[in-house]
């Protein structure tokens, strides 16, 4: 019924979707899978009218659709339930469900018609909820169901669910699956965007796998695949591994950074890992595993409740990023460069020098020339394409922005770096350049903790790989850089968890 053909979407510097296809049939549950950066959320945004395709088309029963905005997609019958709740907390369940067409008689709210409509939608889902309950009193799971009811009220024939069980308990997730099946049985098409393979295999009928913006499996019946085969499709071997110079890691050197039995207020338990100077420790895991949160805990931004952190053998209780930087020479290249890593409306020079103004300044004043020279040094060293260091960071492409984000830590002469998802949303060529860069840093003697959801990247770069899942370390391996073997081992480690283990809730999902 709904068909997306050869969709293309490009952003400056990166081709997010490269002839992606998606076919939906009524009365089915369709899983949309893919790694971080494969293009899933871009595809969802195209289908829901947030973006417009640069190429290809979307058709419904053969007729081409053009969306001027999210409301158009809604009217076309495509509903979506995002990861974050989009409800009015002060309003009741019923009001939220019918918000798009509040029933009224000459301006007065018709509460009876409102309740009736809400009841109709909730009944379709066979959900027991009093329509008069204020939404603020609902749990996240219940709120989700209200949003699904809302989509039904909008007469959605297609329902997109984006990581729906990310913050649900096991029981709540099961209830959601029942609702999903009911939607399917009523003739609707449900698209399930998810990272959780068990969930996909439990509920979905067909699957589309995206990789590097392309569909590598389209609308295949799920029964034809095993979990391993799906994973193979997701991570693939399309990645052309580059030749990285050999690096020898001196095993006898004491670790630059060591965590022993660390637990945090967020829920990490008994995390132990160590990184030596000149070594790259890859910290791999799926979205929601808790890796960025762990890094932030090390930097003092989240509370460590047990265990020790040692920097060069000395116990360290880091209270903020400034202390990490100046006292321990520990830097953190953030995951979300736009929101957390860069000052988009400031110059590249300032973005790079921000960590070292203290060092550059004379009598409290920062000489412009010293800042410019520093910026030029790193622009050249990292190959950042700018017209001048005075260019604003927001005007650079994704890859160059990421280089700026990295440059400020190199300028600070850190010897321990935590690098979080360095190549998300960056094109293949710049990705390769980044990998050379990171490997080069390790060769110079830096200790690097590489947080990544990109399995090929991890296998190429890391000397050892720690695998994290649900806020715990589930395994650690030495990396022999053999992709097939390593990827199978790692995936097996992650999915060794029994499907009924309740996922731990995280208040912020990892990007």
């Amino acid at each position: 019924m709904l068909v997306a053909e050869n969709l293309v979407k490009t952003f400056p510097g990166v081709r997010a979707l490269d002839n992606a296809n998606l076919t939906l049939r009524p009365g089915s549950v369709h899983a949309l899978l893919g790694e971080n950066g494969a293009g899933k959320s871009t595809l969802v945004k195209l289908l829901t009218g947030v973006y417009r395709p640069d190429g290809g088309r979307i058709t419904w029963d053969g007729e081409e659709l053009h969306f001027g905005g999210p409301l158009d997609a809604q009217r076309a019958g495509i509903g979506v339930v995002h990861q974050e709740r989009n409800l009015i907390p002060a309003f009741s369940v019923a009001e939220n469900i019918v918000l798009h067409h509040l029933p009224g008689k000459a301006g007065w709210l018709d509460k009876r018609r409102m309740r009736t409509e809400a009841r109709r939608c909730l009944d379709l889902l066979e959900v027991e909820l009093d329509p008069d309950t204020p939404v603020s009193r609902l749990s996240v799971a219940q709120g989700q169901l209200v949003e699904i009811a809302k989509a039904l009220s909008l007469d959605s024939k297609v329902l997109l669910l984006d990581e729906p069980t990310a913050s649900l308990t096991g029981d709540e997730a099961d209830r959601l699956y029942t609702v999903v099946r009911r939607l399917r049985d009523s003739g609707r098409a449900v698209v399930l965007v998810s990272h959780k393979l068990e969930e996909v295999f439990a509920v979905a009928d067909t699957v589309t796998v995206l990789r590097d913006g392309r569909s590598v499996a389209e609308a295949e019946p799920l029964t034809g695949y095993t979990q391993s085969e799906i994973v193979d499709l997701m991570v693939g071997r399309a990645y052309a591994s580059i030749e990285l110079p050999e690096r020898r890691v001196d095993e006898n050197r004491p670790p630059a950074l060591r965590l022993t039995g660390v637990s945090t207020a967020i829920g990490h338990r008994d995390i132990s890992l160590a990184v030596r100077p000149g070594e790259i420790l890859g910290l791999y895991g799926l979205v929601g595993a808790g890796r960025s949160e762990l890094a932030k805990a090390v930097l003092g931004l989240e509370r460590i409740t047990a265990g020790t952190v040692e920097v060069h053998g000395e116990p360290a209780r880091i209270k903020d990023v400034g202390e990490a930087l100046r006292r321990y020479r520990l830097g953190y290249v953030t995951e979300d460069r736009k929101d957390e890593g860069l000052f988009l409306d400031q110059t590249v020079a300032r973005n790079i020098a921000v960590t070292v103004w203290r060092r550059l300044s004379r009598a409290g004043l920062v000489p412009d020339r010293r800042e410019r020279v520093l910026a030029e040094t790193y622009v050249e060293r990292l190959g950042i394409r700018v017209s001048s260091p005075q260019q604003l960071a927001g005007q650079l492409s994704g890859g160059n922005q990421q280089k700026v984000s990295l440059a400020k830590w190199l300028a600070a002469e850190c010897d321990i770096l935590i690098v979080d998802e360095p190549t998300v949303g960056i094109d293949v060529r710049t990705k390769a350049a980044f990998h050379e860069l990171i490997a080069g840093l390790a060769a110079e003697g830096l200790a690097l903790l590489l947080i990544s959801s990109d399995l090929p990247e991890t296998v190429v770069l890391a000397d050892r790989i720690a695998v994290m899942s649900d806020l715990r370390i589930v395994g650690e391996l030495d990396n022999d850089h053999d992709y097939p073997r390593m990827s199978q081992q790692i995936i097996r480690m992650i999915h060794a968890e029994t499907p009924t283990a309740p996922p731990t809730t995280l208040s912020t999902a990892e990007g």
Partner: protein, 350 residues
């Protein structure tokens, strides 16, 4: 608001386009200023009379330039200080009190007032950084609280609403210009003594935000507080410092006004709120934080006071002055918006 001006394939970056001259806010202000002065002079030649008009005008500009700087200090963070007027009045009270009751001289009284202003500002900054409550609300509430406090303080320490005496030296600040000081036969220009104080303040604030590490870190905090925190900037401290600076400069403005008026009184600062925004906003300082312009603020303050003075000479009533100033602010805001929209369409970044 930033514009990605590249295509996917070859060029990954663009040269930042030069802002067309007509769009540069400061040039516009200078042009407007010249036009207005010409207009007022044509209508009332007395506008260019130094003793009658220009000298008092310079005194007024000095006061309101400093008032604008007080607001600029927190605009750098993307915050607001609605209590600038009351902070000025409270500080003026401290100045009057130290002189009247403790017999202190000019410098000590001034120092006491500046300290009080800084403390009030720091208090606001502390509340804002610790509770996360909007700066608007915190400074609004502080404004309300201080309104009452000020009248009580003045009523309890004086016979009414003002101190009867002022430190020696303030008479000179009030009436003298450099023309009253001569070396032999050469006398200075007809510039009031308060002018250098205001200029010095402007230069220092300008230096702070242009070159000092502290000022840069404040601007970065205003640009993206999360990234600032993750880059090692002590954002909470910077917020307190920026607000303390605002209070300190407000105190200075109160001092200058007291000097011009001849008394430390409870009504100081009553008229500070609108001009405190008008001068920086006209001068191109963004309300969103991350960029300030001291030169623009100076031009904005000059323009505002020229308008006041000119209309005054043309015998407009005070209420009508207010009307036109309000209209000027709206016009400035609309023009600013129009300018941004146009510049965005042309792909330049202001």
């Amino acid at each position: 608001m930033t514009v990605q001006a590249e295509k996917a394939a070859p060029a990954e970056t663009t040269k930042p386009r030069r802002i067309p001259l007509w769009a540069n806010p400061r040039i516009g202000l200078v042009v407007l200023l010249v036009l207005l002065v010409a207009l007022f002079t044509v209508l009332r030649p007395a506008f260019l009379d130094t003793r009658l008009t220009l000298t008092p005008l310079q005194s007024d500009i000095s006061v309101y330039l400093v008032v604008g700087l007080a607001q600029l200090s927190v605009l750098s963070l993307g915050h607001m200080n609605l209590a600038v007027g009351r902070m000025a009045a409270t500080s003026a009270f401290a100045m009057g009190l130290t002189h009247d009751k403790l017999g202190a001289g000019l410098i000590v009284s001034l120092a006491a007032g500046l300290l009080v202003g800084a403390l009030l500002g720091a208090l606001a900054g502390l509340i804002i950084s610790r509770t996360g409550v909007n700066s608007f609300v915190v400074t609004l509430a502080m404004d309300f609280a201080l309104v009452g406090l000020i009248t009580i303080l003045y009523a309890s320490a004086t016979d009414g609403v003002a101190f009867p005496t002022m430190p020696a030296g303030m008479e000179a600040l009030r009436f003298d210009t450099f023309a009253d000081y001569c070396l032999g036969d050469v006398c200075g220009p007809r510039v009031p003594l308060v002018v250098p104080i205001a200029i010095a303040a402007a230069l220092l604030v300008g230096l702070l935000f242009r070159s000092a590490r502290l000022g840069r870190e404040i601007l970065m905090t205003g640009s993206n507080v999360r990234a600032a925190e993750l880059s090692g900037i002590p954002t909470r401290t910077r917020i307190v410092q920026a607000h303390a600076l605002s209070g300190l400069i407000a105190a200075l403005a109160g001092f200058l006004l007291a000097a011009n008026n001849g008394a430390f009184s409870a009504s100081i600062g009553d008229s500070f709120l609108l001009p405190s925004f008008l001068a920086p906003v006209l001068g191109g300082t963004l309300l969103a934080g991350g960029a300030v312009s001291v030169l623009g603020t100076a031009l904005g303050a000059t323009l505002t006071q020229v308008i006041y003075k000119g209309l005054n000479l043309l015998q407009f009533q005070l209420d009508q002055l207010q009307l036109y100033i309000g209209l000027v602010l709206i016009a400035a805001l609309s023009l600013d918006r129009a300018r941004h929209v146009l510049a965005e369409r042309r792909g330049a970044k202001l």
